[in-house]
């Protein structure tokens, strides 16, 4: 929840002071989460927490939708290790292409590249490496917390804040020899802080995004 200097209620005053304490302690932005698209606000009510890693399994569209929220809000985003990233679909989700940077092949130096990207970009989407030592993941996690950036991993990740698992797709618009794909619904299973819940999400129909309203309501 963002601090609101104008309001005078004791609760917000406390939030405000806490934010200032955080700021002085050098925990920049830790009080301010990154927004998500309205279609995803039900499953991630607090938005994306800066400094956290999220694991996404089974859907590139879901990863794009998660990138779109911060990108629409003016953040720079990075994509690493995904040479098949569909740029037009990304633009369709509302990702600003002029604030998007791709590293299609990080090569063998996966962790240093992701760390270097996380240093300067607010959100980094990466394909999970083949194997990663827990110590290395912890070091990267510390780096993320220090820089307050979000890591979205396509695949399993040892220390993730939430796991978004796509179990299936529901398609509409296509028939037997006619029509075209028009609507996509994801069968989603979200494991967030120990609790797991299922939801059905329509990403294609996220509609015009009113982020200002979203921020107020978050």
């Amino acid at each position: 929840m963002s601090p609101r200097l104008s309001s005078a209620s004791p609760a917000s005053l406390r939030d405000d002071l806490q934010a200032q304490i955080h700021l002085m302690q050098g925990k920049r932005g830790s009080e301010r989460s990154l927004p998500v698209l309205p279609s995803l606000s039900r499953i991630l009510p607090g938005g994306l927490r800066p400094g956290a890693a999220y694991s996404i399994q089974g859907s590139m569209s879901l990863a794009m939708a998660l990138l779109a929220g911060p990108s629409l809000n003016g953040s720079w985003c990075g994509v690493a290790g995904l040479p098949d990233f569909g740029v037009e679909a990304a633009a369709g989700f509302g990702i600003a292409l002029d604030r998007l940077v791709l590293v299609p092949d990080p090569g063998t130096s996966w962790t240093p590249v992701i760390a270097a990207m996380a240093d300067v970009l607010s959100v980094v989407l990466a394909r999970a490496p083949g194997r990663i030592a827990p110590a290395e993941a912890a070091r990267l996690g510390a780096r993320l917390r220090e820089r307050s950036s979000v890591l979205l991993v396509l695949g399993p990740w040892p220390q993730s804040e939430a796991v978004l698992q796509v179990n299936g797709f529901e398609w509409a618009g296509l028939g037997q020899g006619h029509g075209h794909l028009a609507k996509q619904e994801l069968e989603l299973e979200v494991a967030l802080r120990g609790s797991s819940r299922r939801a059905s999400v329509d990403l294609a129909d996220s509609g015009p995004v009113d982020l200002s309203r979203h921020r107020m309501g978050a």
Partner: protein, 538 residues
């Protein structure tokens, strides 16, 4: 005091380099030597080589006609920037022997004859010195000396290969110009009018009284009249040789390791950046030329989102060497290098590296803000660091371009380079056959072979009218018929036909959308024979 008389023109020495656009193209390796070659501007021959001329190709001929006369003609497009760039060393070499050169245009320059003649002891000797200087660079030159720049240019143009110098004695320029047609004045409108009035030669035109010419043809006419009378009012205005901003480093013996080279180049790069800065400029676009021992040349222009610092310059050299071995140029043994170069190694030791600023900007536009330039600069530093780890092309910025295949529509531009001109305009064109939204999230960088089978487990085909022979039943994502999935829903074929006339870019295929039994949605492509997966909706 005769204030109102036209100033007497000074004697001028004009040097003409025949077929300069062609010579420049050959110097820049855009055209091979010793074959019939021509430079094309707006569909007609702008300059051609002696070999092509022997086959009957002349200036002004249409390209198609020229190729009929000489089928093995090699052509390249005219490029004024290249002409000027390649002329620069010629002018500098000329300036070393006879200072005070005025460049009339690339391939033509003028010098005041008086000083040079006195120094070399005669006008012929001065002309000889000019020819020698051109000869030392291996380019052909012709020299004309006359009372005015215009007359000297005509004199130079009327020389032949055997007698490359023509000196008109003082006072004879007007008589020399008499038989030339009015076309040489370089004013097509005036020339056409004069011809219709029956004035065909410069002599006829010069004989008209100056006052009448002014009354009938105005200011342009009086200038042309002065030219025709051998009284070119133009003076030779020597250029101030530009301060050299480019820097070069030579290595003897050549260096064959990139890290050695980077270390050695550091001082040159520092000098380059400092030299640009002393002119209150910064370099935003840089050309790096690398020459190796085998004589091949690698040339590349690098952009920079801000401006080049010394370490950026060294990085560019490293990337250029790592991205391509020096195999594009002429190989002395006639062989070609396969790309088997070790990363960071070179195919042949580097003997020379040159830095040329292509685009500079005032340093005032690039000043640092008092409290730092904020996020964008940080991002640039971070991404440049990744580039220096992985190479220039490893960090890219995406853009949507035009095309029918999805992979074509995705344009990836290295961080720091400008988007190619016209990409945005290409993207905004309608592109019939574009697949309807939503677009697939996974677009395979290269097509993946798959199989689509009908109920009889035969490959699904289209007939000659573009319809399906049998509806699809089974889908094999790996291309292996044993591991097949049922087709749940499908649509197609959506024909995709383009550029049947162009062998390299022609495309004749059918698109299908498909949802398989596992609920995965695919975009498939059927060319003449095979099934491919173009993209996946996931």
């Amino acid at each position: 005091m005769m204030l109102f008389q036209l100033e007497t023109p000074v004697r001028a020495l004009v040097t003409w380099f025949p077929d300069w656009p062609l010579v420049a193209a050959r110097l820049a390796d855009a055209l091979p030597p010793d074959v019939p070659a021509a430079v094309i501007g707006q569909g007609v021959i702008a300059a051609c080589s002696a070999e092509a001329r022997a086959e009957g190709v002349v200036r002004g001929l249409r390209l198609r006609e020229a190729q009929t006369r000489c089928p093995e003609l090699v052509v390249c497009a005219v490029d004024p920037v290249r002409d000027a760039r390649e002329f620069e060393p010629v002018v500098s070499s000329l300036e070393e022997r006879t200072p005070g050169v005025e460049v009339l245009r690339p391939g033509l320059c003028a010098i005041r004859a008086k000083g040079a003649a006195r120094y070399y002891g005669g006008e012929e000797a001065a002309a000889g010195a000019v020819l020698e200087s051109a000869d030392s660079l291996g380019v052909e030159a012709r020299v004309g000396i006359a009372d005015s720049v215009f007359a000297a240019e005509q004199a130079a143009r009327s020389t032949s290969e055997l007698s490359a110098v023509l000196v008109l004695p003082p006072g004879s320029s007007r008589d020399f110009l008499t038989p030339f047609p009015v076309g040489v004045l370089g004013q097509p409108k005036l020339a056409s009018l004069l011809k219709r009035l029956g004035i065909l030669t410069l002599g006829n035109f010069a004989n008209l009284p100056a006052a009448d010419v002014r009354a009938r043809f105005g200011a342009a006419g009086i200038t042309a009249h002065a030219l025709a009378s051998g009284q070119d009012p133009r003076k030779v205005i020597p250029r101030t040789p530009p301060r050299k901003l480019d820097q070069r480093a030579e290595f003897e013996p050549g260096l064959d390791r990139v890290d050695q080279l980077a270390f050695q180049l550091r001082a040159t790069a520092d000098a380059f950046v400092a030299g640009v800065q002393t002119e209150s400029l910064v370099c935003t676009e840089l050309r790096v030329l690398i020459t190796d021992e085998a004589g091949s040349r690698s040339e590349r222009t690098w952009g920079h989102p801000r401006h080049f610092t010394a370490s950026d310059v060294v990085d560019r050299v490293r990337w250029q060497l790592q991205s391509q071995p020096l195999a594009q140029g002429r190989m002395p043994d006639g062989g070609t290098h396969d790309g088997g170069m070790a990363r960071g190694g070179l195919s042949s030791p580097v003997t020379r590296v040159e830095f040329v600023p292509v685009r500079v900007d005032s340093i005032a536009h690039h000043g640092r803000a008092l409290f730092g330039d904020g996020a964008e600069e940080q991002i640039h530093h971070g991404l440049s660091r990744i580039q220096s780890m992985l190479g220039h092309e490893a960090v890219v910025v995406p853009a949507i371009s035009g095309g029918r295949l999805l992979a074509e529509r995705r344009r990836l531009v290295p961080w720091g380079d400008a988007l190619p001109a016209g990409a945005a305009a290409l993207a905004s064109r309608p592109w019939p056959g574009r697949i309807p939204d939503p677009q697939p999230a996974t677009v395979f960088a290269s097509l993946i072979p798959v199989l689509l089978l009908d109920a009889d487990k035969e490959k699904v085909r289209t007939d000659h009218r573009g319809g399906l022979i049998a509806p699809p039943m089974w889908f094999c994502p790996g291309g292996d018929p044993a591991r097949r999935r049922l087709v749940a829903q499908w649509a197609g074929p959506w024909p995709l036909k383009q550029r049947w006339w162009d062998a390299d870019h022609r495309l004749e295929a059918d698109r299908f959308q498909l949802v398989d039994g596992n609920g995965e949605a695919w975009l498939l492509l059927l060319d003449e024979q095979n099934w491919w997966a173009e993209a996946r909706y996931d």
